[in-house]
Amino acid sequence: MNQRTVMELKRFATQIRLESILSMGACGSGHVGGVLSAADLVAVLYGLEACYDPKDPHKEDRDRIVLSKGHCGPVLYAALALKGFFPKELLSTLNQNGTTLPSHCNMHDTPGIDMSTGSLGQGASLAAGIALGMRMKGLQDRYTYLILGDGECDEGQVWEMALFAAQQKQDNLIAFVDLNHQQLDGYTDDICGLGDLRQKFQDFGWWAVQIDGHDVEAIHQAIQDAKTHKGVPSVIVLDTVKGKGWSVTEGKPGVHHIPISKEQMEQARQELGAQIAALEEQLEGEELDGI
């Protein structure tokens, strides 16, 4: 990946972070920690990897993205708005009465959302079903991308699916675990320890790798590697920091679901806005260098 693409993806990830903070702020609160920890993955998927058409969200020949940690809908909505699935202004209607952007994803409310989720563990099976259907339909070179939370891996259904997907040799299913080390009540190690998730998936018959979940280049490379492993499903365990990328939340405990004040929204505009401006400056510099 060239440095320009890296910077573009970083900029996109920062834009996603800012827009999702502002959308959650507009309704006063949100699942900030898990939204921000997943932003770099979402930036790589919507910025580079996934095949989709904002003008035709239901096009059959597309990749599917299932956010099984469905409470983090705002991170997808920010990406979808920035990519033109719907106007950016809609983001401020998150969770408002009559909204088409419920914080837990609903495929019938929001253009670009491929599956309704919200009951943890279930998106795993739904994604496996989609992948099975894609194979039966002969959709070549199309993938189902499944985004799991680490706390979500407490659910037995995730491991039922893990057995099933391996049995069905679902090499068109690429799962991610957002290993941000915290769940609602605290650190995962203190509540229901997950051990070595990468090893567990490998033992279940998956190709499994663990990488820095905030390194867009590493995420991209891991996806390329996953696609070369035929006959097995793949999982990319993303070592992340809950609340990443915003000084108010990054690395702090108790940021699963928090209130966001107007002052904090303004602070986010300043902090992340400055980061975006700096990345844009670098990108412009690159262009000049190129000339």
Binding site: N106, M107, H108, D114, M115, S116, T117, G118, S119, G121, Q122, A124, S125, L126, A127, A128, G129, I130, A131, L132, G133, M134, M136, K137, G156, Q157, E160, M161, L163, F164, Q167, Q168
Partner: protein, 317 residues
């Protein structure tokens, strides 16, 4: 009265119908949870190997996978014993079925008394209640082979979530071959004017007919109405039966709470029809391991109990 005269088991009829439909409709797929030999769907799997998935003993994942297949345009039918198809997968049926507007058909075999030797752990006495309380779910209990052949194609062609109860290893034959039924419409199995027995399923409809024959000997004319579609309930048929006979007895292979009796009581109350009314079914208890005759008598589902209760209702008119 002899009802076990069909040439094939009900599960064989279900499989045959599914295979006929699948020949015409490539979107039909089946999933099972390590019970393909019990459901008889192994025959479907042999005929359509790429369209049958044995998920292993994981009902929750199976329902989720079915939801995903539905999102890809398939019409999945999932099977497990009713106890697990309904009780164990309730949240999955909701999210991967109802909430996602998916096209999901759930076959729950051996509900209630049919559990016999598998015993109380396997006796679903709550499945109708679970399923009928979920938004938009259709609930059906098949009475015999003719009904399977007539109604199952309608179910498979109707979008949405449908829960199907099936007494799988029975040769019950109640209706002549070729009898046509309409999903959502009650079927009058026997005419009568003194009391209406509203029954469901391959266990209770034959029992109700036996009770009606017994009542006839005692000079009571009992109507038997087959409410095989428990939801959406045929409200007009319930009202008609109640008004024309003046007494209503429900007979269900289920707990008396949240099943057919409750559904009928809701209609009678909302329509202001204050006729004598009672419910035959499991009286808020769990089942146990025994043969069918023992279970029917012990839990008061047998035709003598139905006849006695019907007679009491007639006396109260």
């Amino acid at each position: 009265m002899e009802f076990d005269t069909s040439k094939i088991l009900l599960r064989e009829a279900v499989c045959e119908v599914l295979m006929e439909l699948a020949k015409e409709d490539p979107s039909i797929v089946v999933l099972d949870a390590d019970l393909m030999n019990a459901s008889g769907l192994s025959r479907f799997a042999k005929e359509f190997p790429g369209r049958a998935f044995n998920c292993g003993i994981q009902e929750s994942n199976m329902v989720g996978v079915a939801g995903g297949l539905s999102a890809m345009g398939y019409v999945p039918l999932v099977h497990s014993f009713a106890a697990f198809a309904a009780r164990r997968t309730t949240d999955q049926v909701f999210l991967a079925g109802v909430y996602g507007h998916h096209n999901l058909k759930i076959l729950g075999t051996d509900p209630g008394a049919c559990g016999t030797s598998n015993g109380g752990s396997h006796m679903a006495l709550e499945d109708i209640g679970i399923m009928r309380s979920m938004a938009g779910v259709t609930v059906v209990d098949f009475t015999d082979e003719a009904m399977v052949r007539s109604v199952l194609p309608q179910i498979m062609k109707t979008p949405g979530v449908c829960y199907i109860r099936l007494f799988r290893k029975t040769k019950r034959k109640v209706y002549p071959d070729g009898t046509q039924f309409t999903l959502g419409k009650a079927y009058t199995a026997r005419n009568g004017k003194d009391v209406a027995i509203l029954a469901e399923g391959a266990v209770m409809v034959p029992e109700a007919l036996k009770a009606a024959a017994l009542l006839e000997e005692q000079g009571i004319s009992a109507r038997v109405v087959d409410l095989f579609t428990i939801k959406p309930l045929d409200v007009q048929a319930v009202v008609k039966a109640a008004k024309e006979t003046g007494a209503v007895l429900t007979a269900e292979n289920h707990n008396i709470y949240n099943g057919l009796g409750s559904a009928v009581a809701e209609v009678l109350a909302e329509q202001g029809i204050g006729v004598p009314f009672a419910r035959v079914g499991f009286q808020d208890t769990v089942g146990e391991t025994a043969d069918m005759d023992y279970i029917m008598k012990k839990f008061g589902l047998d035709y003598q109990t139905i006849a006695a209760k019907a007679k009491e209702l007639v006396r109260l008119k």
